[in-house]
């Protein structure tokens, strides 16, 4: 049994990280060798600089905390934040990898127990989490080890074990509700919708929990005062966190007290918690995992049977322009795929939940002070319009929708738009308009809350929405064009098309670049001495110019990019 599970895990890891695929193309065929070089230089460089930044911040934090003997809180915060991150991302990953992988139809007929398949899939998610943790939590552990007075060998050994076990408990905590949700959703004909709603509820709960924990920390003030207050109450923060996620405390003590019996005891508890959690997951999974997966295979057929029983007359013949038709299909395909929705719409749900939580916390003296400061800002209504426009922009950048417009088609479906007698510009515009409608609709809840909470005049909201649509359409056009140039079509499950797609990272970088351009424009306009609404109008002018330039660029290069896309 162990041998076949190991074999399954190795095969899953191979597929997930495209190991054989890369070996074949890069080493044997020696094709597109610039790709791994670019990935190492680009992603590796960005990850390394981020890791160095986190290391520096952790060292600084350590110094301040050590002054009042609370240095261990450095580890607690690093571990806690990474575990919350693992839990949020893990929930979406579990649903995607456990229930929407292309290889499930191959794995299920194999003589494997559900728990064995689940173990293989869990290993894939775990491995993906390690990649992120190397950047986010390893620098914190190293910084603490370098600065603290710890015995080198026990600390390094404990660090390795803690690092390996770190994502297990939060992933188990995300996976158990996920497989139970999918089991319950599988009983319904609206399985996909239920999965999406459940997913967002889970994310909402985690966001509120995180927000609640954070607001227990002292409020805004002078930096030194803030830090002093923060550190003075560090134990209460740790207590709150520890009451909800004790593993972060065990991990902290395992590292901070490495080489002592107490450290060893906490390391033991931490590892046993991970193993026990995994066993519980396997036991539950063995009973309900396949039921959720198989109900997914049945859902379509059941629906089909119902329709064939006499409800087939719903078919309609609607005629639309190619751009409108492409935009509508883009929205339908995106919103009917739970994996895409859970990845792309997270911001649409997360931000309004945060805004509402902030509003509900207004009674808190620190929050009330923050609101007073914000509302006292001069020309708040003009700035509010820009904030709303920026909100659209951030949602578009975070959504991954435009930057995966063609990648999501994959090798299987790209032949469909490629064989259409429509210009590349039409196809790109159709996809960009579809993305824009999704972003605009997704922005409504957040804007409604923002407008109400900040008591923005209707004119500010209206101007913000118009500029928001313009700013997000700029990014949508950039994204669609970039993804037309370099789509990631080789993916084995939908999650990879949106999550492991470098184009999404490029999208965020492009977002930063466009924001920088807009920031420079605002700075320039303020220096000209324009009134606040004059600055807002100037930003509108810059956005209009950017849009015009992008549409011209689309006309100039889209056909070349499209014809170069071989499928």
């Amino acid at each position: 049994m162990a041998r076949r599970v190991l074999s399954l895990i190795l095969a899953q890891l191979n597929m997930n990280f495209a190991i054989s695929h890369s070996r074949y193309y890069y080493l044997k065929k020696r094709q597109r060798l610039w790709e791994p070089v670019l990935i190492v230089l680009g992603v590796g460089g960005a990850a390394a600089s981020l890791a160095v930044g986190i290391y520096t911040a952790a060292s600084y934090y350590y110094s301040t905390a050590a002054a009042i003997g609370q240095e261990a809180v450095t580890l607690t915060l690093g571990i806690l934040l990474s575990q919350v991150l693992v839990m949020i991302l893990g929930f979406v990953l579990v649903i995607a990898v456990f229930y929407f992988s292309n290889d499930l139809a191959i794995l299920i007929p194999l003589p494997l127990r559900p728990a064995e398949v689940l173990a293989g899939k869990f290993a894939v998610i775990l491995a993906s989490e390690y990649v992120g943790l190397v950047v986010f939590v390893l620098p914190v552990i190293i910084a603490y080890g370098v600065r603290a007075d710890v015995s080198a060998v026990p600390y390094v050994l404990s660090s390795i074990l803690v690092f390996l076990a770190l994502p297990v408990v939060p992933l188990v905590l995300a996976a158990i509700p996920a497989i139970l949700l999918m089991r319950v959703a599988g009983l319904s004909r609206r399985k996909d919708t239920l999965a999406m709603i459940g997913g967002f509820l889970f994310i909402g709960v985690i966001v509120v929990f995180q927000f609640f924990v954070q607001t227990k920390a002292p409020g805004v003030g002078e930096e030194a005062e803030f830090l002093a207050k923060m550190l003075a109450t560090a134990n209460s923060l740790v207590y709150i966190v520890g009451a909800r996620l004790p593993p972060s405390i065990w991990a902290t003590k395992a590292l901070a007290l490495a080489g002592t019996w107490q450290g060893l005891w906490n390391l033991g508890i931490f590892l046993v918690a991970g193993v026990l959690g995994f066993v519980v997951l396997l036991v539950i999974g063995d009973r309900v995992f396949y039921q959720g997966v198989l109900s997914g295979f049945e859902a379509g057929a059941r629906k089909g049977a119902a329709r064939r029983a006499g409800k087939a007359k719903a078919a309609g013949y609607v005629s639309r322009s190619p751009i409108a038709s492409l935009a509508i299909i883009e929205m339908k395909l995106f919103t009917r795929t739970p994996v895409f929705v859970l990845n792309g719409f997270t911001g649409f749900v997360m931000f309004p939940v945060m805004f509402v939580a902030m509003f509900l916390m207004r009674g808190n003296p620190e929050m009330a002070r923050l609101w007073d400061v914000l509302l006292a800002v001069p020309a708040f209504d003009a700035i509010g319009a820009l904030v709303i426009a920026a909100y659209f922009f951030v949602l578009a950048a975070m959504s991954s929708i435009p930057f995966t417009a063609f990648s999501r088609e994959g090798r299987r479906n790209i032949w469909i738009p490629r064989s259409f007698p429509a210009s590349a510009k039409t196809i790109a515009l159709g996809k960009a308009v579809g993305a824009e409608i999704m972003v605009a609709l997704g922005a409504i809840p957040g804007i409604a809350v923002l407008g109400y909470v900040a008591r923005l005049p209707l004119a500010s909201v209206a101007v913000g929405v118009v500029f928001g649509v313009m700013s997000s359409f700029v990014l949508n056009l950039c994204g669609v064009l970039f993804d037309m140039w370099r789509p990631m079509l080789n993916w084995t499950d939908q999650q990879k098309a949106v999550k492991s797609n470098l184009n999404v990272v490029v999208g965020m970088l492009m977002g930063v670049a466009v924001l920088a351009v807009l920031g420079l424009a605002v700075n320039f306009l303020i220096n000209l001495g324009l009134p606040a609404w004059g600055v807002v109008a100037g930003v509108g002018g810059v956005l209009a110019a950017l849009l015009a330039a992008l549409v011209a660029l689309l006309g100039a290069v889209a056909d070349r990019l499209w014809s170069g896309l071989e499928a």
Partner: protein
């Protein structure tokens, strides 16, 4: 051959990146209006690569491809507007319903509302898909997906109907209907170009066949012409195919 040239390939070559030999090597052929042309060849001979170049999914390294007089490289939109294409494995948008997919295709090909209502009705009836058209494509069997892809490809009554292994997945009744439909499509002055491994079908159905092996066209003409050239009047298309392709591989 009498009709106007609807599909013409002149000196078309394609080598995949990193490939050691061309997948298609200096291929020239012409298909005229009213013809059913069967494109035959062993696995890996270059059939699908050729078809993908014709429909614009791959770019030819050299040569020209004209569809109803439109150069696929220079005027792809006009060329594609005259093509109806069904790939070997019709992967469709699984999360759309059948009618949503057909409406998308009709919108892109500019089929009017009345025309699409008539054409879709006819084709769905022919393929017995009427009761399933409101279902999500994910729930379709392989054969139903194949039929839906065929319906989509025929919606705009294309001048050039291109199919890669069209018989795979069709039940005997649908297969028979489809073959009749191919003939009636050509009788309207259009053309059908399809690849197949089913040599009996090709022999019975095609006005002309082309045999490709290792990227090169090694024979082209009606089955009768091929027999005459080889001075073997009792040979079947299967005999001709096997001898020609085995001889090619022996070289």
């Amino acid at each position: 051959m009498s009709g106007a040239s609807l599909l013409r390939l002149e000196g078309v070559s394609k080598t995949y990146r990193g490939g050691t030999r061309p997948a298609v090597d200096n291929l020239s052929l012409e298909v005229r209006a009213g013809e059913i042309f069967g494109f035959l060849g062993p696995n890996g001979a270059g059939k699908t690569t050729t078809i993908k170049m014709v429909v614009g999914l791959l770019r030819a390294d050299r040569g020209t491809i004209l569809v109803n007089g439109h150069d696929v490289a220079r005027d792809p939109v006009a060329a594609k507007a005259d093509i109806g294409y069904v790939p070997d494995n019709p992967d469709l948008y699984e999360r759309l319903t059948g009618i949503e997919y057909l409406n998308l295709v009709a919108d892109i090909f500019g089929v009017s509302r009345e025309e699409r209502r008539r054409r879709i009705g006819e084709l769905l009836e022919m393929f017995e898909l009427e009761s399933a058209v409101a279902d999500i494509i994910q729930s379709y069997s392989h054969g139903m997906k194949q039929k839906l892809a065929l319906t989509g490809a025929l919606l705009h009554d294309p001048r050039v109907f291109i199919l890669d292994e069209p018989m795979v997945g069709l039940d005997p009744r649908a297969s028979r209907l489809f073959k009749d439909m191919m003939r009636s499509h050509c009788d309207k002055g259009h053309t059908v170009f399809f690849s197949t491994h089913v040599l009996e079908v090709a022999e019975r159905l095609c006005d002309r066949v082309g045999i490709i092996n290792m990227g090169r066209l090694i024979a082209c003409g009606s089955v009768e012409e091929l027999r005459e050239r080889r001075k073997q009047t009792d040979e079947t298309l299967e005999d001709i195919f096997l001898e020609l392709t085995e001889a090619g591989e022996a070289k």
